[in-house]
């Protein structure tokens, strides 16, 4: 359902700007959009927000596990984006640049909150491993459960997981966003995978 809404929102054509393919932070930039945003054109800023709001919100929500905190992060990201857009030299680097903004805002929020209360709003129930995995509600619950466990990982282990699975970045791209080597990314991902597998081992019968 969420994916359908995302598809629909990315297909909205705004006058003057043609929404391009891709979703989340991978959505392609319409030509000239960045320049128009730099000039403070309202319509361009709105299109930019429409294009990337869900991608930013997805990472923020999966990082924090808390909707209101995710909205705060989202707003912080866009405020920084608008105020620092002039510092982006090459539009081709927009995606890693935006990812860095998101990661930094998440880390800032984490430092401020010290400890997120994972899934404070969404009720996470233990999934009955005997139930049919095709059950839509069950699938949704599974996703929430994974999110709650991801939100409990240490931030330096959590971020690579989100960039890999929410944004689909390669190890090299994750390294560029985080400013570390591919080896470090691989090591962190190995550790986070193992932690997740152990904490969610009771789901082995479900997927």
């Amino acid at each position: 359902m969420a994916a359908k809404i995302a598809e629909e929102s990315s297909a909205i054509a705004r006058p003057g700007w043609v929404m391009t393919q891709g979703s989340g932070l991978a959505a392609a930039l319409p030509p000239g959009l960045i320049n128009a945003c730099r000039k403070g054109e309202r319509e361009a800023l709105r299109v930019l927000f429409e294009l990337y709001k869900d991608g930013v919100f997805s990472i923020a929500l999966n990082f924090s596990g808390n909707k209101s905190l995710a909205l705060d992060i989202c707003q912080d990201v866009f405020l920084k984006l608008i105020s620092t857009l002039h510092s982006l030299r090459d539009e081709a680097n927009f995606r890693p640049w935006l990812c860095r903004l998101v990661v930094n805002s998440c880390m800032d929020a984490h430092r401020q909150a010290r400890r997120f209360v994972a899934e404070a709003e969404d009720e996470v129930k233990k999934i009955d491993s005997a139930a049919s995995p095709e059950d839509a509600a069950q699938q949704q619950q599974l996703g929430l459960e994974v999110r709650s466990q991801v939100a409990r990982l240490a931030p330096h282990l959590r971020i690579p997981i989100l960039l890999r699975y929410v944004e689909g970045l390669s190890y090299e791209e994750i390294g560029r966003v985080l400013g570390c080597s591919m080896g470090t990314v691989a090591s962190r991902l190995s550790r986070s995978h193992k932690l997740l597998a152990r904490r969610l081992s009771y789901l082995r019968g479900v997927i």
């Binding site: 969420a2 994916a3 809404i5 995302a6 929102s9 989340g24 403070g40 309202r42 800023l45 709105r46 927000f49 709001k53 869900d54 919100f57 997805s58 929500l61 999966n62 995710a70 909205l71 989202c74 707003q75 866009f78 405020l79 608008i82 699938q139 949704q140 599974l142 996703g143 929430l144 994974v146 999110r147 991801v150 997981i161 989100l162 890999r164 699975y165 929410v166 390669s170 190890y171 090299e172 591919m182 080896g183 990314v185 691989a186 090591s187 991902l189 190995s190 550790r191 986070s192 995978h193 193992k194 997740l196 597998a197 152990r198 969610l200 789901l203 082995r204 997927i207």
Partner: protein, 281 residues
């Protein structure tokens, strides 16, 4: 075949992110290492779980809340123009208000100062004409009590303007009498003398083009500066000033500093009260 367990690389191996050669080496190790195979299995399981991480969309109501502070509201053209010009308009209004305040509350509309410089040629001639006026030897080329006629005559003959009001206050009739005017040949200067009486005391006003008078008082823009001189030989009061391109000298023996002589042109109660309040300093 590698002997050290490649634990930290198993995630990259699972995602095919290792260089090909390294991937082969890890694969070789895995075929002979049950522990690493178990770890890889954990990673594959976790990867399947992580793929279920839900993608979220900002709820429409919250999107509006988010969007509002981020995207500046579109201002109407009138509003934009107003915003653009508002600082300038506000500054202009402030300057105008200050100007009005200064003009009415601070500005001195009239200043009377004691002349420090020696009398110029127009003042000397005015004193001489006043003496003749007193002696009755001044021959008036136009003898009239009609202010308008005198004004027209001066303008036509010498291009000089006399600020004589057509109507005078009723009380003036008791003590004010206009006598006449004459042109003066004064070192090729176009000058004129106007004679009148206040309470039977002769008053002589001499005027000339400002550009033709040496050392005439400068014209003040926002307030009138009058210079007073007590004439030593006869004890006359001599007032001199400049306005609208003409220099004026007023000679009389009227009381105080002879300010009543100014009542020829200044007929309003407020202006006369202001003139009467002044003291030469």
């Amino acid at each position: 075949m590698i002997h050290r367990h490649p634990s930290s690389e198993l995630s990259a191996y699972h995602h095919h992110q290792l260089p090909l050669e390294r991937e082969r080496e890890v694969a070789g190790h895995l075929s002979g290492c049950a522990r690493c195979r178990a770890e890889l299995d954990e990673i594959a399981f976790a990867a399947r779980l992580a793929k279920r991480l839900p993608r979220a969309t900002v709820p429409v109501s919250l999107a509006m809340l988010l969007e509002r502070p981020l995207i500046p509201r579109r201002a109407g053209q009138a509003e934009r123009i107003a915003r653009q010009w508002l600082p300038a308009a506000a500054s202009l209004a402030a300057v105008i208000l200050l100007g009005v305040f200064w003009y009415f509350a601070i500005r001195q509309p009239l200043r009377v100062a004691v002349a420090a410089s020696p009398p110029n040629n127009l003042e000397q001639r005015a004193v001489a004409e006043h003496v003749r006026h007193l002696q009755g030897t001044l021959s008036w080329q136009l003898k009239t009590g009609d202010a308008r006629e005198l004004q027209r005559w001066l303008l036509e003959r010498a291009g000089l303007f006399a600020h004589l009001p057509e109507k005078r206050p009723a009380t003036d009739a008791q003590y004010f009498r206009l006598i006449g005017t004459s042109l003066l040949g004064l070192e090729r200067i176009d000058a004129a003398v106007i004679g009148y009486e206040i309470d039977g005391r002769p008053v002589t006003l001499v005027t000339a083009k400002l550009s033709q008078v040496r050392d005439a008082p400068a014209e003040a823009r926002f307030s009138k500066s009058v210079f007073y001189r007590a004439e030593a030989a006869h004890g006359f009061h001599v007032l001199s000033w400049s306005t609208e391109g003409q220099a004026y000298v007023l000679v009389s023996a009227l009381p105080h500093y002879g300010e009543q002589g100014c009542f020829l042109c200044h007929t309003t109660t407020a202006r006369r009260a202001l003139i009467s309040r002044m003291n030469p300093r």
